[in-house]
C-alpha cells in the first residue's frame, strides 16, 4: 500500500516490516479472529488433535500405572536416583522461558517485532510450565504428599526444609506459573472482547464474554491495561532469570561432580532461552505456513529469533567449555574423572550428540541465507530442542552414574514407562496448544493493529488511546 516500504524479501534489517503491507485494522482483525470464529476447523487440526490427544492419554495411562506401582516402573536406581522425570522437568521449564522473555523483557525494551509471536510464545510458556510442573510431583516416591513441600500451617508443626533447593524450586516454579498465567490472561482481555463482539454463536458470546471481564475499550480500560501489563512485565522479567537459576541450584547446591558448579545459573538461563526460542521457532514455522500467517510472522521475526538462538547457543557453548576447563583447572580428580567419563564413558555418544546439536549445528545461523531459509531454521530448531534435552540428560544421568565410590557405579536405562511419560507430556503440550490455536487468537489482534499504522507510514505512539474496538 505504501510505496515507501521496501519489498519484504529484499533486506531483513530493522527497516524490514513486521507486518506485510496492505493490511488495515479491519483486515488484521478479520484475519486473526476468523481462525477462531468463522473458518471451518481444518482437517489437519482434527488429525493433529487426535494424535496429540492419544499421546496425552498415553501420559494418563503411564501416570495411572505409576501411581499404582511406584517410581520403580522407571529405570531409576541407586546411584541414578533421578532420570527422565527430572530431565523432562528441566527441559520443559527451559522451553517455557522464551515466552516470558518475549512478552516481558522485549516489551520493556520496546521491541515491537515481538508482537506477532508473543501471544503464542506466552501460551507455549504456560503449557510448557504445566508439563514441567507435572514431573516433580510424578517423580516423588509418595506423590500424594506433594503438598508437604508448601509452607502451610499443619498439625505436624513442620515447615518445609528451607535449605533444600527443591523447596526453592517450589516457590520459583509456582510463582513463575502464576505470573505467566496472569500476564497471558491480561494480554488476552482486549482480544477476548473482540471475539465476544464478533462471535455469532451464543456459547461463544457467553464464554468469551465472561473471560473478557467486561472490557469495553474505554480510554480508562486501556490506561489500566497498559499499567497492568507493564507491572506484570516488570514482575516477570526477574523471573526469566530467577526460575532457571533456582532450577540450576537443584544441581549446583549438590556435591556431586558434574552438578557442583558455579557456572550453572547463567549457563542454565542461557540454555533455557536457547531452547525456548528454538521451540517457538519449531512451532511458529508450521503454524504460519498452515494458517497463512506469513504476513504477520514475517521472515524478520524468524531472522531475529535465529540471531537470539545463535547468541544464546554461543553462551551455552561457553558454558560447556568452562565446565571442561574448570574440571581440569581445579585439579580435582573427581571433576576430571566426571568430564572424561562424559566424553569417553558409556554415555559418551549422548555427550557428543549434545555437542553436535547445541554447538556445531547452530553455527550455520551465522549465514544470512540459513536464517532466511524457513526449512533450514525449522530443522535447526528441532536439532536444538533435541540437543537441549540431551544436555539435561547428560547433566542428570552421567554425573550420578559414576560418582565418588566406584563400588556404587551403575547404569541407567530408561524403561518403556519413562518414554511413555515423556512422549505423553509432549502430547499434553500439543493438546493444550492445539486447543489454544482453535479457541483463542494466537496473535495479539490489538497489538497487530498498532503495527498497521506503522506500515501506513504514520508514526504513532505505541500506546494509542484512539484505537477502539471495531
Amino acid at each position: 500500500m505504501d510505496p515507501v516500504m521496501p519489498e519484504p524479501s529484499a533486506e531483513l534489517g530493522v527497516s524490514a516490516p513486521l507486518i506485510e503491507p496492505g493490511h488495515s485494522y479491519a483486515s488484521v482483525t478479520d484475519k486473526i479472529s476468523a481462525i477462531v470464529l468463522t473458518r471451518r476447523t481444518p482437517r489437519w487440526w482434527m488429525l493433529g488433535f487426535a494424535a496429540a490427544f492419544c499421546l496425552m492419554m498415553l501420559l494418563f495411562f503411564a501416570v495411572a500405572y505409576l501411581f499404582a506401582v511406584g517410581v520403580g516402573i522407571w529405570g531409576i536406581n541407586i546411584p541414578v536416583g533421578w532420570g527422565f522425570a527430572i530431565v523432562n522437568f528441566v527441559w520443559w521449564i527451559g522451553i517455557g522461558h522464551a515466552g516470558t522473555l518475549i512478552s516481558a523483557i522485549l516489551l520493556l525494551l520496546r521491541q515491537q517485532w515481538r508482537t506477532s509471536i508473543n501471544r503464542f510464545a506466552e501460551a507455549m510458556t504456560l503449557f510448557a510450565v504445566s508439563c514441567a510442573g507435572l514431573f516433580p510431583v510424578l517423580h516423588m516416591g509418595r506423590p500424594w504428599l506433594a503438598y508437604w513441600l508448601f509452607p502451610y500451617p499443619n498439625t505436624m508443626g513442620m515447615w518445609p526444609q528451607f535449605r533444600s533447593p527443591l523447596v526453592w524450586d517450589v516457590f520459583a516454579v509456582s510463582t513463575y506459573a502464576t505470573v505467566s498465567l496472569l500476564f497471558w490472561f491480561v494480554g488476552l482481555i482486549p482480544d477476548l472482547a473482540t471475539l465476544r463482539d464478533r462471535s455469532r454463536n451464543r456459547v461463544g458470546k457467553i464464554m468469551y464474554g465472561i473471560l473478557a471481564m467486561g472490557w469495553r475499550g474505554s480510554a480508562v480500560h486501556w490506561s489500566r491495561y497498559e499499567t497492568a501489563s507493564l507491572l506484570l512485565a516488570g514482575l516477570a522479567t526477574p523471573l526469566v532469570v530467577s526460575v532457571h537459576t533456582v532450577v540450576s541450584f537443584d544441581f549446583a547446591v549438590a556435591i556431586i561432580p558434574g552438578w557442583h558448579t558455579t557456572i550453572f545459573p547463567p549457563y542454565f538461563v542461557a540454555g533455557a532461552i536457547y531452547s525456548g526460542f528454538a521451540m517457538v521457532m519449531t512451532l511458529a514455522i508450521p503454524i504460519r505456513a498452515i494458517y497463512k500467517l506469513e504476513d504477520f510472522i514475517t521472515l524478520r521475526h524468524l531472522d531475529n529469533m535465529a540471531k537470539i538462538i545463535l547468541a544464546t547457543g554461543l553462551i551455552v557453548g561457553y558454558g560447556y567449555m568452562m565446565e571442561t576447563f574448570g574440571a581440569f583447572y581445579s585439579a580435582d580428580q573427581y571433576e576430571k574423572f566426571m568430564i572424561l567419563n562424559r566424553m569417553t564413558g558409556p554415555y559418551a555418544p549422548f555427550y557428543w550428540a549434545l555437542i553436535a546439536c547445541n554447538i556445531v549445528m547452530p553455527q550455520l545461523l551465522w549465514f544470512p541465507a540459513v536464517r532466511r531459509s524457513v526449512v533450514g531454521l525449522f530443522v535447526i530448531s528441532l536439532v536444538v530442542n533435541v540437543g537441549m534435552w540431551l544436555e539435561r540428560f547428560v547433566i542428570v544421568v552421567t554425573s550420578l552414574h559414576r560418582d565418588f565410590l566406584p563400588s556404587s557405579w551403575g547404569m541407567y536405562y530408561p524403561t518403556r514407562w519413562d518414554w511413555a511419560t515423556y512422549v505423553g507430556s509432549i502430547g499434553l503440550f500439543l493438546t493444550l496448544l492445539l486447543l489454544f490455536l482453535r479457541y483463542l487468537p494466537m496473535i495479539s489482534i490489538f497489538e497487530m493493529r498498532q503495527l498497521v499504522s506503522q506500515t501506513s507510514g504514520k508514526t504513532e505512539s505505541r500506546v494509542s488511546g484512539n484505537l477502539d474496538d471495531v
Partner: protein, 1043 residues
C-alpha cells in the same frame, strides 16, 4: 444331604474335573471320589445349598454364625480338657516372671551344618524368634555367626516350608503315618529289618545316634547310611591314611605365625570357620591387642599363604596367594612336603615346575623357621592324600599339639559317605531294599549324577521322607513328613571341637513338623515319646552313668540332673563335653601312592571345580530370599550361579560375561552363563552347587544351573576333560558391583578398582612400611578438625557421640553383617530383576576392590554403611526434613515424613541410601510377619531408608541405663553387624568416651575416613589394611608361578 440337587452335584464334580485339568497337580484320577477331593469341591459340600445365590452376596450369614458359635463352644470345651505337658526352656540372660511386652528374651540353641553345631542365642519377641545371634559361651561361635545362621530364622517363617504329612501327594496326618509305621514294624520284625534302610546326613548328635543304634539293635539286618553332598569324606579318609583312624582336626589359628592353606577356605566355610575367623583376625592386629590369645606372640601379625583354584575369602586375606589348577595344588603340596623333610612321596610327581620359584622356596623356609607355630590346612575338597600329607607336614613341623590337635571324630558313625550312598543305590537297584527312610538331605537332587538316585530309589518299595520342604526327594517318596525347623525342635549336636550343643526350641512347631528324633522313635515303636523327652531322657541316662563313676557327690540324682539340665540349656552347651585332645602318632610307613592323587591331565584339558555355593550352600538354602540376594563374596553375584573362570581363560575361549556355554563332562552336559573372576586359576572352571532346583519353593525353584548334573561320585570336587561349547546365547546375571577390565602396560586391570585406589578409598600397606610410617593412612588434619559449614552447627549431646570403626585388616568379606542387618532391620528382598536394575536394599554392603593384574590381584573387602556424617550432605537437600541429625550424631530417617524425592541419595557421596522404588516389603504373607523385628518400622513404597546404627538397640540400651541411673557403658550397644562379625572387624560405641573401644581405635594411626576431603566428617571410619608379606618375596601377593 436333603435338598441337594443331584444335577448340581454332578455339575460340581465336572467343574472340579475342569479345575483339575488346568492345574499342574496329578494328571490322572482314579475315580470321581478322588477327583472330588479338591478343596473347592470339599468346601462346596459344606454348604447346604451349594449354589445359593444369596450366599454370594452376604458376607456372613446366620447359618455360618451359628455353626461357628457351636464349633467354638465345642472346641473351648475340648481344649480345656487337654493339659499340655510342660516343656521348660530356659532363657539365656534374664528370666522375668512373665514376659514383658516389648522386652525380647534370648535363648541359647544351636544350628547344625553338615551335622556340626554352632551355638546361637536367639532373640524372641513375644514368643516369636526374630533374630539369631552367636552364643558367646559356645566355642564354635564366641558370639559371632555366619550368614547361614543369620538367615535361618527366615526359613522358619518360610511360607513354602512343608506343613503337613503327605501320603502319595495327598494330605494325611501323623496318626496315619504312625499306623503305617507300626504295620511296617510288624513286617520288618520277621526279617530283622533286612529290607529297611535309613539314610541320614552326617549325625553328630549323641542322642539321635543312640536312638539309631537302638533301632539297629532291634532290626539287626537294617542298615544306616549317611550322605551329604558336601561331606568331609576326604578329611576323614586323609586322617585314616595318616593315623589309621578317623580323627577330627582342630586348628588353633591364633597360635600360628605362618599358615599355609592348600585350597582351604577355612575362614568362611567348614566346621569351626566362625571360630577360625575370630582366631585369625586376632592375629591381624599390628598392635598388641588385649583380646589376643595369651599363646599368640605379642605384637606380631600372622602370615597367610594360600594356593587355591577358586578365589575364596580366605584367598583374599592372604599375604601371598597363588592360583593353581586343582591338580597343581596337589603337586605343590607334595613339593612343599618334600622340602620340609617328608619322605615317601611319589617320585613321579616332580616338583620341578615349582623349584625355580622364589615363592616356593620362601614358603618352605618360612614354615621351617616357624616350627611349632606354623600350620598347614588342607582344603576340605582336596583328595584324602593331601589331607594325609598335611597331617604329616604338621607333624614334621612340630605343629601337632600346638597349632593343630586331634580328637576323636565328631560323627557318631564316621563312614565314607559316598561309598555308603553307592552301596545303598546298589542295593536298591538289586531290589534288596523294601523300605527307605530318608531323614533330611535331598539325595534326589544332590546325589552324584552317575548314581542316578532318582531312578534307583524307585527300587525301594516304600519310601519315607522327613524334610523341611516338599522337594525333589519328597516328590518321589510315598510318605512325606514335614521336618521341624531347628528353632521348633529339641536336639543336640557336637561343635567343631566336640562340645555338645543343645538345640532347644524357641517356638512350638508352626505346622505339623516332627524332628528326626521323633521319626526314629516312631520307627522304634515309641511314637508316643515327645521330642523333649527323647533328648532329655538321653542326657538323664548319660548323667546317671556319669554319677555312677566314683568321686561324684551323693546328691539326689534327679535334683542334680535338673540343675545340670537347666544350666546346660541356659548355656546352650553341656560343659566339658569338648572332645579331649588325642595324642596321636603318624602311622608307621606312611606313604602316598600316585593312585591316591588326581591323574595328571593333559595341559590342554579344562578342569571343572565343584564347590558349595557361598550363599545357598549345597542347595538346602535355595528357598531363602536373604541368602539368594546376598551378593556372593568376590563376584557380587546374586540369585544365580555361573561358570566362573579366569580372564585369561575367558579370552582364550573367546567368551564374555553372561555368555551361555554348554559344559560337557564325560557325556553329561549343563548350560551355564560365564562369569569372569579375577584371580581364578587358568584353565579351570568353577561351578557352584546348590542351584537349578526344580522343587525348592517359590524363591529357589528354577534359578541357576544344576551342577549336580555334572558331578560324579568318582570326581566329586574336581574333574578334567571339561569341554566348553559356545551357544551364542546370553543370560543376564545380577551383580551388585560393576567391574570391567582395562588394559594398562600389558596388564589387565579393573578400572573401578583403580579409581578406588586413586581416590584412597582403601588404604593398604605392607607391615614394614607401616612400621616406618605408622601414619601412612591418616587423613590430613584440615579434613578432620575443621567443620566448615554455611549453617550453624547442630546441637550436640554432652554425653554421647556414636561412631564406628571398621578394621579392613580383619574383614574377610563373609557377608554375615549383611544378612544380620537384613534380619535386624526388616530389610526386604527385592528379587533378581530389581537387583539387576541397581535396587538392592542392603543397608550395609561389602565393596570389593582388586589391585594389580587381574590374573592374581590383591583383593580388599570394604564394608560400607551409612557414615553418619557430621556435615551430612543428605540432610541439607531434603525438602521436607525427613532426614535429620540427632544430637548424638545419628543421621536419622523419618520414614513417615519422607516423600521420596531421592535427592538425599543423589547427594550422598557414599551411596548408602536405599529407596523403596516399589512396595518391596511383603505386607501380605502372614507367616513372614512373624519374623519382623517389632522395634523397626516396615517400610512402605516410596520412602528412603538406610543404616540407622541400629538406633533401636541404642535406645534400648539408653532406657536400661536410665532405669539403672547410670550412663550407657561401652559395650552396652552392639549393632547387628558388629554382633554377627566373626572377625570382630566392626566396633561401635561412644566416641565422646575416650576409654571406649571405638574411641581408642579411632585414635590409632591407621584410622581414616572415606572422602573426608568433601568435609562430610564421617562418624564411620576405617582402619587401613596391612599385609605381612614375606620379605624374601619382593612384590607382595601378586606372584605368578614361573612356568
Amino acid at each position: 444331604m436333603p435338598g441337594h440337587d443331584n444335577k448340581n452335584g454332578l455339575h460340581d464334580i465336572v467343574a472340579a474335573g475342569a479345575r483339575q485339568d488346568g492345574s499342574a497337580g496329578r494328571r490322572f484320577w482314579r475315580g470321581l471320589g478322588e477327583l472330588a477331593e479338591t478343596p473347592a469341591f470339599t468346601e462346596s459340600l459344606h454348604h447346604e445349598f451349594p449354589n445359593d445365590p444369596e450366599k454370594e452376596n452376604s458376607g456372613v450369614n446366620r447359618r455360618d454364625v451359628l455353626k461357628l458359635m457351636a464349633a467354638s463352644a465345642a472346641l473351648a470345651g475340648l481344649s480345656s480338657c487337654t493339659k499340655l505337658p510342660t516343656q521348660k526352656i530356659v532363657p539365656y540372660v534374664r528370666a522375668p516372671e512373665e514376659i514383658i511386652p516389648g522386652k525380647p528374651l534370648f535363648y541359647a540353641t544351636a544350628m547344625t551344618q553338615g551335622g556340626v553345631a554352632t551355638g546361637l542365642l536367639v532373640e524372641s519377641n513375644m514368643g516369636r524368634p526374630t533374630k539369631v545371634e552367636g552364643n558367646p559361651l559356645h566355642p564354635g561361635s564366641l558370639g559371632a555367626t555366619d550368614i547361614f545362621a543369620q538367615a535361618s530364622v527366615l526359613a522358619l517363617y518360610d511360607p513354602d516350608r512343608s506343613q503337613v504329612v503327605n501320603y502319595e501327594g495327598r494330605i494325611s496326618n501323623w496318626a496315619a503315618f504312625v499306623e503305617a509305621i507300626n504295620r511296617l514294624r510288624d513286617e520288618q520284625k520277621a526279617t530283622g529289618g533286612a529290607g529297611l534302610r535309613i539314610l541320614t546326613g552326617t549325625v553328630t548328635s549323641p542322642s539321635l545316634a543312640a536312638q539309631l543304634r537302638a533301632l539297629l539293635a532291634e532290626f539287626p539286618a537294617a542298615k544306616w547310611h549317611q550322605y551329604e553332598p558336601c561331606a568331609r569324606d576326604s578329611a576323614r579318609e586323609g586322617a585314616r591314611l595318616a593315623f589309621g583312624q578317623p580323627v577330627n582336626t582342630v586348628y588353633r589359628i591364633d597360635r600360628a605365625d605362618v599358615i599355609l592353606s592348600l585350597d582351604s577356605d577355612f575362614l568362611c566355610s567348614g566346621p569351626g570357620s566362625v571360630r577360625y575367623a575370630r582366631d585369625f583376625s586376632a592375629r591381624r592386629d599390628p598392635d598388641a591387642s588385649p583380646n589376643a590369645s595369651p599363646h599368640a606372640s605379642p605384637n606380631r601379625m600372622n602370615r597367610l599363604y594360600v594356593v587355591e583354584s577358586t578365589p575364596s575369602n580366605t584367598g583374599a586375606m592372604a599375604d601371598h596367594r597363588m592360583p593353581l589348577k586343582p591338580g597343581d595344588v596337589e603337586r605343590f603340596a607334595i613339593g612343599i612336603a618334600g622340602s620340609v623333610g617328608l619322605a615317601g612321596l611319589p617320585e613321579s610327581r616332580s616338583i620341578g615346575q615349582f623349584a625355580g620359584s622364589a615363592w616356593f622356596e620362601a614358603l618352605s623356609k618360612d614354615l621351617e623357621n616357624h616350627r611349632g607355630a606354623s600350620l598347614v590346612i588342607p582344603g576340605e575338597h582336596q583328595p584324602a592324600a593331601i589331607h594325609a600329607l598335611a597331617h604329616a607336614m604338621n607333624h614334621a613341623l612340630g605343629n601337632a599339639g600346638k597349632t593343630v590337635f586331634y580328637t576323636d571324630a565328631l560323627e557318631a558313625e564316621p563312614i565314607d559317605q559316598l561309598a555308603s550312598l553307592r552301596e545303598l543305590v546298589e542295593e536298591m537297584k538289586s531290589g534288596k531294599v523294601d523300605t527307605l527312610v530318608i531323614l533330611a538331605g535331598n539325595p534326589v537332587y544332590d546325589a552324584p549324577a552317575d548314581l542316578d538316585f532318582a531312578k534307583n530309589c524307585l527300587g525301594a518299595k516304600l519310601r519315607i521322607r522327613l524334610g523341611e520342604y516338599d522337594d525333589e526327594t519328597s516328590e518321589l517318596c510315598h510318605w512325606h513328613v514335614p521336618e521341624a525347623h531347628y528353632l521348633e525342635s529339641w536336639g543336640d549336636a557336637r561343635a567343631y571341637d566336640g562340645t555338645v550343643s543343645l538345640i532347644q526350641p524357641l517356638i512350638a512347631p508352626l505346622y505339623d513338623g516332627k524332628s528326626a528324633h521323633e521319626l526314629i522313635a516312631a520307627l522304634g515303636g515309641h511314637s508316643d515319646q515327645s521330642n523333649y523327652d527323647l533328648v532329655k531322657d538321653f542326657w538323664k541316662t548319660q548323667s546317671a552313668k556319669d554319677a555312677k563313676k566314683p568321686g561324684k557327690e551323693s546328691q539326689k540324682p534327679d535334683k542334680v540332673f535338673e540343675t545340670f539340665w537347666e544350666t546346660s540349656l541356659h548355656d546352650g552347651l553341656i560343659a566339658g563335653t569338648a572332645l579331649p585332645e588325642k595324642p596321636i602318632a603318624m602311622r608307621g610307613g606312611f606313604n602316598i601312592s600316585s593312585q591316591q592323587l588326581s591323574p595328571s591331565a593333559a595341559a590342554e584339558s579344562l578342569h571343572i571345580v565343584f564347590r558349595p555355593d557361598p550363599a545357598v550352600g549345597d542347595g538346602r538354602f535355595a528357598n531363602n530370599g536373604w541368602l539368594q540376594e546376598v551378593p556372593k563374596p568376590l563376584t557380587q553375584l546374586t540369585w544365580d550361579n555361573a561358570a566362573m573362570l579366569s580372564p585369561a581363560t575367558a579370552a582364550h575361549l573367546e567368551v564374555v560375561n553372561e555368555a551361555v556355554v554348554e559344559l560337557q563332562l564325560d557325556g553329561r552336559t549343563a548350560r551355564a552363563p560365564i562369569w569372569i573372576v579375577p584371580g581364578h586359576a587358568d584353565g579351570t572352571v568353577t561351578l557352584h552347587l546348590g542351584y537349578g532346583r526344580s522343587r525348592a519353593g517359590r524363591v529357589g525353584t528354577g534359578i541357576g544351573v544344576n551342577a549336580y548334573a555334572l558331578r560324579t561320585s568318582a570326581k566329586p570336587w574336581s574333574a578334567d576333560g571339561l569341554v566348553i561349547r559356545k551357544t551364542g546365547e546370553r543370560y543376564s546375571l545380577a551383580s551388585t558391583q560393576m567391574h570391567h577390565a582395562i588394559e594398562r602396560e600389558g596388564k589387565q586391570l579393573d578400572e573401578p578398582s583403580m579409581a578406588a585406589f586413586d581416590r584412597e578409598l582403601v588404604r593398604i600397606a605392607p607391615l614394614e612400611e607401616f612400621r616406618k610410617n605408622p601414619e601412612f593412612a591418616k587423613d590430613p588434619e584440615e579434613r578432620t578438625t575443621k567443620a566448615l559449614s554455611l549453617y550453624p552447627a547442630m546441637p550436640q549431646s554432652a554425653e554421647y557421640a556414636w561412631g564406628m570403626v571398621i578394621d579392613l585388616n580383619k574383614c574377610n568379606g563373609c557377608n554375615a553383617c549383611v544378612v544380620a542387618c537384613q534380619a535386624e532391620n526388616n530389610i526386604p528382598v527385592v528379587g533378581k530383576q530389581e537387583v539387576a536394575m541397581g535396587r538392592a536394599m542392603h543397608w550395609i554392603r561389602i565393596d570389593t576392590y582388586f589391585r594389580g593384574g587381574l590374573e592374581n590381584p590383591e583383593t580388599v573387602h570394604e564394608p560400607v554403611l551409612c557414615m553418619h556424617c557430621e556435615n551430612a550432605p543428605c540432610e541439607l537437600v531434603c525438602p521436607v526434613a525427613a532426614t535429620t541429625h540427632s544430637p548424638e550424631g545419628l543421621n536419622e530417617m523419618v520414614y513417615n515424613r519422607c516423600v521420596g524425592t531421592r535427592y538425599c541419595s543423589n547427594n550422598c557421596p557414599y551411596k548408602v541410601r536405599r529407596f523403596n522404588f516399589k512396595l518391596y516389603s511383603d505386607w501380605t504373607t502372614p507367616s513372614l510377619m512373624g519374623q519382623r523385628n517389632p522395634n523397626v518400622s516396615v517400610r512402605s513404597r516410596g520412602v528412603m531408608e538406610k543404616c540407622t546404627y541400629c538406633v533401636q538397640r541404642i535406645n534400648a540400651a539408653k532406657i536400661t541405663a536410665e532405669l539403672e541411673d547410670r550412663g550407657v557403658r561401652d559395650g552396652d550397644i552392639v549393632t547387628a553387624c558388629q554382633a554377627a562379625c566373626p572377625a570382630e572387624a566392626i566396633v561401635f560405641g561412644n566416641i565422646k568416651d575416650p576409654s571406649s573401644r571405638v574411641a581408642k581405635l579411632k585414635a590409632q594411626s591407621r584410622n581414616y575416613g572415606l572422602l573426608t576431603e568433601l568435609n562430610t566428617r564421617p562418624r564411620t571410619s576405617y582402619l587401613a589394611k596391612l599385609t605381612n608379606p614375606n620379605p624374601e618375596l619382593s612384590s607382595p601377593a601378586t606372584h605368578q608361578r614361573k612356568e
